[in-house]
């Protein structure tokens, strides 16, 4: 009888060794709390729910401790999570997301007023400002480049570039990029108010002209040829973005466009969010450099917004009265589609209830997507 209880006790002890409780640490608890916070913000505050729900739950999945060697974890070769993570590691999820973004983006605002493209270029200064700061923080150049791309405010681009330049920092960079994209309505308005006068905020822009279908078809083809020839290292992102847009605009591939902007992007968003979240295991994520990355990420958003707004003010010096641009759309150049354009619109409405800037802000907003993909290509070309 005694032997039986001893056997039972040994088995129970062995079973306990297999449970998550046996190797649970404070680090896991902190990460699970972060995951729960993401879920809370997404579900109750509606902050980027499509991204924060998968990432938040992914963080919880990635921080349940387990006995290594059973092919369970995201970093264990052959495990289900590891197989799904290959899309992040090898970088094929981000271009697929760009395909969907291209298929759902209407570039009309940009085509009708192409000078807004330059705002999308100016806002990329956030990337290189953060790159310089990261170098000063002591990061090596390749890691600094990967951190800087957070300023592009584009999750897939950040994942694509960090996967190549600094795979070890991928989790922290992706979470930082998506967090700040969700916080765009909090970060940007104070910067926009700081650098604009009341008179500038009231500028009314001319309504955009109607754009023909021919122009919409030419745009992705010319846009791709031009940007890809200049920065071939950006081909995976730019190619998919413009190809998706061509599917949308050419008018003969409706089913393909619907798949790209519907089921395909949804599937990839689920997988990328979940696996990026799961890659933030406590022992890899809870490090001092992750905190540094978060600080640099916040600064990059501030620099990008400032650069966008100031560039519009500078640009206005050369524009005739009646053609001037409201500097409140300068923030939209950071991409973060469509949240930053919405921020432009909302801040504009605070000062003039009938001045709707949304359509104008969509121009620099989508130009920002192109600009950040080009910038990622440049960083990849220089630093890889």
């Amino acid at each position: 009888m005694n032997a039986f209880f001893s056997f039972l006790w040994d088995n129970l002890q062995q079973f306990f060794g297999y449970t998550a409780f046996a190797s649970f640490t404070y680090g896991h608890a902190i990460m699970i709390l972060i995951g729960l916070t993401f879920l809370y913000l997404a579900i109750t505050k509606d902050w980027e729910p499509m991204l924060l729900v998968p990432i938040g739950f992914g963080i919880i999945i990635g921080n349940i401790p387990f006995l290594e060697g059973l092919s369970i974890g995201v970093y264990e070769e052959g495990s289900v999570m590891n197989i799904l993570y290959q899309g992040v590691r090898l970088g094929f999820y981000p271009p697929l997301i760009f395909l969907g973004i291209g298929a759902m983006t209407d570039f009309s605002a940009l085509i009708s007023n192409p000078k807004l493209m330059l705002i999308g270029a100016a806002a990329q200064f956030g990337i290189f400002g953060a790159y310089g700061l990261a170098l000063l923080f002591g990061f090596p150049a390749n890691e600094a480049g990967a951190i800087g791309i957070i300023g592009g405010a584009d999750g897939p681009t950040a994942i694509f570039l960090s996967g190549r330049l600094a795979p070890d920092l991928l989790g922290a960079i992706a979470v930082s990029a998506y967090s700040y994209m969700a916080l765009v309505p909090v970060i940007q308005p104070p910067v926009m108010r700081l650098f604009t006068t009341r008179k500038e905020r009231l500028i009314r822009m001319r309504p955009p002209r109607a754009v023909s279908q021919r122009e919409k078809i030419i745009f992705p083809i010319v846009g791709f040829l031009l940007t890809a020839f200049l920065v071939p290292s950006g081909i995976p992102l730019l190619g998919m973005l413009f190809f998706g847009n061509l599917l949308k605009e050419c008018g003969v591939t409706r089913r393909l466009a619907e798949t790209a902007r519907g089921p395909l992007i949804d599937i990839v968003t689920i997988l990328i969010g979940l696996t990026v979240g799961a890659s933030t295991q406590a022992d890899k994520f809870l490090q001092f450099r992750s905190i540094q990355i978060f600080i640099l990420g916040a600064l990059s958003f501030v620099i990008a917004t400032t650069a966008g707004v100031l560039f519009v003010k500078f640009f206005n010096l050369f524009l005739k009265e009646g053609n001037k641009i409201n500097p409140l759309i300068g923030n939209a150049g950071v991409s973060a589609v469509p949240d930053s354009a919405r921020v432009s619109n909302n801040v504009g409405l605070e000062y003039d209830k009938s001045n709707y800037l949304l359509m104008h802000a969509m121009g620099p907003n989508v130009a920002g997507v192109i600009g950040s993909a080009v910038a990622a290509g440049i960083l990849l070309g220089f630093l890889s």
Binding site: P49, F125, G132, F382
Partner: protein
């Protein structure tokens, strides 16, 4: 229509498949040879022989099974690399060594000639006709310079490190200064300071670029100026092109309108109309609670009206 599509698709696939195979084998290069081996690389039998190193310059796996290697221009098919050996699939940017020992029965990579017989070498694709790469290596009295490829903090350069009086000489290899490349030396080839069978002739540190960048640009100013200039140039060109396209489109629209007898207006729809539409949609979404959870998708649904004898007929008619 469907049949036509399949025919086109099959044609494209066949064309692509044929081209891809040809392209792959054409990416192989003769990369290094050692004629006299007395104290160098050993084969699996523990013997030392001359060897030929091939290099896959592409970013994809290349199967060299079925390709030919020869030291005779009149007999390009002298040694056929056997098909079906898993080891003939050369991974991207990887090397394979063939033993020039005239002992083909020892395995796939032992060819039926030696390098002392002639001073030429041909690598031919599996069709037996297309010479993928060839080499005429120096022999006889020299002197021949020995070169090295240096990559350090002073940059990348080729330096001469002594010479050899004649060739063949024991344990000195003749190879490309940079794997698969044609820069420097004699069309990229030179006598090398050390033999590197099955590995890179020169190893460039992949982090060197990033490190050098940090060294010359510690705070990122050069990077910011360079990269921002490229981003601006890209979007500026796009702006200029679309400015012209836009003008052409407006002109063509006006011409069409004029032909149709319509008098165009600069601002056909005033901004207030857009604002009114946007406000109406906003209020409709907020008050009607018809918007579902997706942020970027605007959904318009049919209004479900309660049945009354007064509206049923109208509703039915409007549905059609």
């Amino acid at each position: 229509m469907g049949k036509k599509l399949y025919i086109i698709l099959t044609g494209v696939l066949l064309l692509f498949g044929a081209r891809a195979a040809a392209q792959s084998q054409s990416d192989m290069r003769l990369n290094e040879i050692l004629v006299n081996n007395t104290d160098d690389y050993e084969d699996d039998y523990g013997h030392k022989h001359g060897w030929i190193e091939l290099f896959n310059t592409s970013r994809g796996t290349v199967d060299i099974g079925g390709c030919y290697i020869s030291n005779d221009r009149n007999n390009l098919k002298k040694y056929r690399i056997p098909k079906g050996d898993v080891l003939t699939k050369i991974k991207p940017r990887q090397h394979i060594v063939l033993w020039a020992d005239n002992m083909p029965l020892r395995g796939t990579f032992h060819v039926n000639f030696t390098l002392t017989e002639t001073d030429v070498l041909y690598f031919t694709s599996s069709n037996g006709r297309d010479i993928v790469d060839s080499l005429h290596f120096p022999t006889g009295e020299g002197p021949f310079p020995v070169m090295d490829y240096i990559a350090d903090s002073d940059g990348v350069r080729i330096e001469t490190k002594g010479s050899i009086a004649a060739y063949p000489v024991d344990n000195v290899s003749y190879g490309r200064l940079m794997d698969g490349e044609t820069t420097g030396g004699d069309s990229g080839w030179a006598f090398l300071v050390k033999t590197t069978p099955s590995s890179n002739n020169v190893i460039l540190d992949s982090e060197a670029a990033a490190q050098r960048f940090k060294e010359f640009d510690p705070v990122g100013i050069i990077m910011a100026i360079t990269a921002m200039s490229v981003v601006f140039v890209a979007l500026m060109l796009l702006y200029l092109i679309f400015k012209q396209i836009g003008r052409a489109a407006v002109r063509s629209g006006r011409k069409k309108a004029a032909r149709a007898g319509i008098i165009p207006h600069e601002d056909e729809i005033p901004g207030e109309v857009y604002a009114a539409i946007a406000t109406a949609v906003h209020l409709y979404i907020q008050q009607g609670e018809v918007h579902d959870v997706e942020n970027t998708i605007l959904t318009f649904r049919n209004i479900k009206r309660n049945y009354t004898p007064w509206n049923s007929k109208i509703y039915g008619l409007r549905k059609q």
